[in-house]
Symmetry: C2
Subunit: 307 residues, 2 copies
Amino acid sequence: MRICVVGCGAVGSLFAANLAQLDDVDVWAYDVSQAHVAAINASGLRLVGADDVVGRPTATSDASELPPCDFGIVSTKSMHTDEAVAATAHAFTHGAVASVQNGVGNEEVVARHVARVVRGTTFPAGKILEPGVVQWDVKGDTTLGPFEPQPATAEEIVRLADACTRAGMPTHAVSDARPAQWHKVIFNAATNPVGALTCLTHGRVCERPDLRALVSALVDEGKAVAAAQAIALDADPEELIDHAARPDVAYDHKASMLQDVEARRPTEIDFLNGGIGRFGHELGVSTPLNDAVTALVKGLEESWELH
Amino acid sequence: MRICVVGCGAVGSLFAANLAQLDDVDVWAYDVSQAHVAAINASGLRLVGADDVVGRPTATSDASELPPCDFGIVSTKSMHTDEAVAATAHAFTHGAVASVQNGVGNEEVVARHVARVVRGTTFPAGKILEPGVVQWDVKGDTTLGPFEPQPATAEEIVRLADACTRAGMPTHAVSDARPAQWHKVIFNAATNPVGALTCLTHGRVCERPDLRALVSALVDEGKAVAAAQAIALDADPEELIDHAARPDVAYDHKASMLQDVEARRPTEIDFLNGGIGRFGHELGVSTPLNDAVTALVKGLEESWELH
């Protein structure tokens, strides 16, 4: 089978390099970074850290070079989904496309361009060290299920999950991926903007009763929006928040949104708190605190354009 | 009569320099900045900008030098009230002390140390340019009334207001200063933290519908806390917010809290949104958005201690 990773940043690279280990999978990597593409094609895609892997996907920044694929795995930042999937959709005319991105609302964007979509959530994380080399920080599971309005077939989802698992990325094919997805988005939306707006690590945020209360209030709004969709979360985001605050887990971790703020990069707020707010609005569930932090982070992003 | 200005920063200097113009008032200025005190005693206290004034109050950083005074005008930053009034209280054994500080909750702190307290709100603003020299940015009115649990007499309030007015600082003696004070604190609490957390000027904040909605939501919580105290605001803070956003008024103004954040100085959040939250808590009025921005600004302040 042929799989194209669309957006070969840190997470996309974990999928591309690992999947390229499989003899029965032809892996393509589409990315707008020509330096990353050139390095991958010259020397392979190398993962270091949690595991050492070198994969040899075929990389390109020219979407017209992509052959027909059985699967896409979209792993761009959320705000680049529309552009990236529009450019590559021709390769998925007969295939199914999964999003493994952060937040909620990505599948809806993918579905504008391709017929069959997979709802996905993934926990592995890393960062690009240099073109062609990615630090694999954290291993973790991936969950794949149908995107309800335009679902991939159950057989497709099982086949993609099996390939990922065999490649070293444990992946569960499920009939409803929303509980896992909303568990993760509620966690991310409750912790990321608080870190980003205060410049505090996850552990410091959780040590302050006033900020920890704000985190819980954001969680509660997210839970209400999930409940309005009859989604039974697969675990309580509060447990993940407390677990991550432990000194031996992620006390000193700067939320990815704080890393974006420090680098003055656009954040994924529109698909985290902004996504919860949009779903809430459609469902008649008010989300004033998620709306507030969305507005604050977007205002902060605007300020960078002015200096 | 003798008046001591306690905390001779920008606003305190406006009172001290103007009051020192009056032949019938002996003005003292207490401030912890020895450079500011030395400059005032050497060359007088000079105001430039909205008006040019040179006054010659007697300045000191040594509270034990203060003679008995008829009036105190407390104009420290809110978080320094307790220390400054504790140090100077002996001068007000037979006098009345007014707060003209930002926020709510200052009079309660003053009243721990002196018997008769004046609730005050002032709009003039400026900044210290160098020791002994203050830029007078904005003229405006001051309102003085009794602090209800430990009030100054009506005669005292009229006498102090009359002196300020004659000195060029128009001041109204009223029987209830809470409507003016809550009007101002609601305005400040709705605009200051939004500017501080986004790094946007007042005009930019008001141009973004999402941030302008957050400002209004903060206003609404403040109005609810005022209403629970049966305070009828003397004007709608929304009008002041829209007025200030005009290009010819304060479009490019950075909220004082944003200036504090940029300079990494402690903010007055505890007496703005934090004050609204405390009053709301006592009154059974929930203030989740004021609580949220209070926590975020205090978290941001904590982050400065770590770098």
